[in-house]
Symmetry: C2
Subunit: 400 residues, 2 copies
Amino acid sequence: MKKLITLIALALAATAGASAQQSLWDLQDFETVTVNPDKTVTFKIKAPKAVKVQVTGDFLQPTVLEIPNYGKVEQPGVAELKETPGGIWEYTTEPLESELYNFRFYVDGLAFNDPSYTYVQRDISNLMDYFIVPGGRADNYIVQDVPHGTVSRVWYHSDVLRMDRRMAVYTPDGYESGKTRYPVLYLLHGMGGDEEAWLCTGRAAQILDNLIAQGKAKPMIVVMTNGNCKHQSAPGESAEGMFKPYNSGSFDTSFEAHFKDVIAFVDKNYRTVKAAAGRAVAGLSMGGGHSFQLSLNYPKTFDYIGLFSAGLNIHRSEGGDIAPQMYENTYEKLDALFANNPKLYYIAIGETDFLYDSNAELRKYLDGKGFKYTYLETSGGHIWRNWRIYLEDFAQKLFK
Amino acid sequence: MKKLITLIALALAATAGASAQQSLWDLQDFETVTVNPDKTVTFKIKAPKAVKVQVTGDFLQPTVLEIPNYGKVEQPGVAELKETPGGIWEYTTEPLESELYNFRFYVDGLAFNDPSYTYVQRDISNLMDYFIVPGGRADNYIVQDVPHGTVSRVWYHSDVLRMDRRMAVYTPDGYESGKTRYPVLYLLHGMGGDEEAWLCTGRAAQILDNLIAQGKAKPMIVVMTNGNCKHQSAPGESAEGMFKPYNSGSFDTSFEAHFKDVIAFVDKNYRTVKAAAGRAVAGLSMGGGHSFQLSLNYPKTFDYIGLFSAGLNIHRSEGGDIAPQMYENTYEKLDALFANNPKLYYIAIGETDFLYDSNAELRKYLDGKGFKYTYLETSGGHIWRNWRIYLEDFAQKLFK
């Protein structure tokens, strides 16, 4: 075989650091982001012609702005990188608390992702770079050396919506090889999000893997649907093509009406506990609103309900509702729900969330009636950092 | 409920175009890339302070360079964008043939991904923007309105490597609800790639969905492993953390030695045809080398073998091999393989591929022996465009 042999390994190695393809692009070969042992973080960008290089992100002290008729908005801070020899710009943070942080560079005012930094999260039409500082809260957002569940993208048919739709499904370690039935958490995203949001930005698979491995959460299936019933799936994942993601949502009962198709599909295709005691529904923002409405309109279906920064009124009275009765008689349905003693009714919100007041009104109503619920208030606003915290907290209270 | 109600929908809509989070970043709100009806493509970037804005990619006429002791390399062309009022830079291509194209902006020499353009593919440490021109070859790379298979990320244990490892698995539409057994294509990536490569850059799920829907390929399971046995999984998907991906590979028989664990796992956990007639193995570059060696060292296991731009000698004699005999007596094993009359032995390569000569030597050997094989030669080199073409062609020849 000697004659046949050429030193392919060497030839392949010559492309190192770039691409498996022959058509190579010249990228920076040093680390763009380094999390240092002292938990400071160093950013480095090669931009010899730049006049100003900045980095922004949620690791910098934010400014809280009060916007009239809207609420409070956190504006991330901005730090300046300094030029070093060779046109390499650098900035090192203060020591940071353990967290998953998003960041972005600005080069002479231009929002910029470094193509050689491959750790990105998509939040609607926003491709955000991220890094993780370990050693505390974020340890459960990191892939640890524990048994891992399976994550699948699965298509189901909705008779109500007359379309095929995509969901993401997490099944815990041992699901494939075992025979056990598992409870199901239906986990819903916010406006403009899709079935990828909780996996990507929410770190749902990592949180569940780690909590289950630590014995803090029961092994469960997690079903992540697409809450925008105008779409089949995340952008680029259906025949609608590669449209620019935007903040569209379903505020017209279509999501709630079609949810019976979701439950039927999941109960048919997975080894589930087919009872309220084996079902939780939770969501963030619009998904919190969906969870609120699902818990009211599918009585005795969910024993566990989680409202994360919930948009509680998702009704726009512009007609076209599939099931208008679903958004009616809300108080009566709420009373009926609590008459059934749900095992967990969970409300969580950040102190600067623009939905704070409407959630406070819901709590006031529940308090007035003496309905029991669990409440978590955190710092910060309507942000993914909080939603990861809520999921981690909520998941530990389920199916016990 | 009126009192409780606030116009959440309006408040949420105020964040349109940006992020579901409160912490918003200012991104361009127009389309970065537009594929026009005449199949020209327009690029648009807002960069008011830039002096020069360029775009490069494989849609531009490449230059072929001859590098001594290496071979031919395609260098992508570069086009200049023109500034228009408002600091928006534009460039429109000639009409393009139907294809999936990668591109990158350079702003004053800085390689740049627009954070508001969310269609990216990772090739090792290179985050490449892409677009698709429909109306021809690329139609099978697009998610069409056809039944879709399920795509899962699954963990298996390898006794040989003593580690948990991740694979990606495509199961065809109908798998979950049916009882049929399916044949399996083991589809292997190149050096520096991982279990994500064929799904992301290779469009394997779209190609299979479309070919199966058109009746051109048999419904099959596709198993995509990680060919680098030093790693459990793609970067960021194991406890190794968020390292910078690099061109590492397994050239030491470890991948081939552990492959029995892969087959055992797949045959145990999926409804497979457990026979050579129901198994194909194919790969690109290093994965083509792995396929070559697997076909030789697992006799009567695969009736279909595909070598795409294959690195045929993946042996580096630096010791540490798990099963050194696997890379020995190659000619004898090749003769034995062909004595069994494999149903398909498929070699494909681009005319400017740097591995062209070694593949030509293999063909010469096969020709000399009168061994039957199928050969496809395409234009271009060691590039993903070719590997998608080879997969589409190869998949149609399987299990028939």
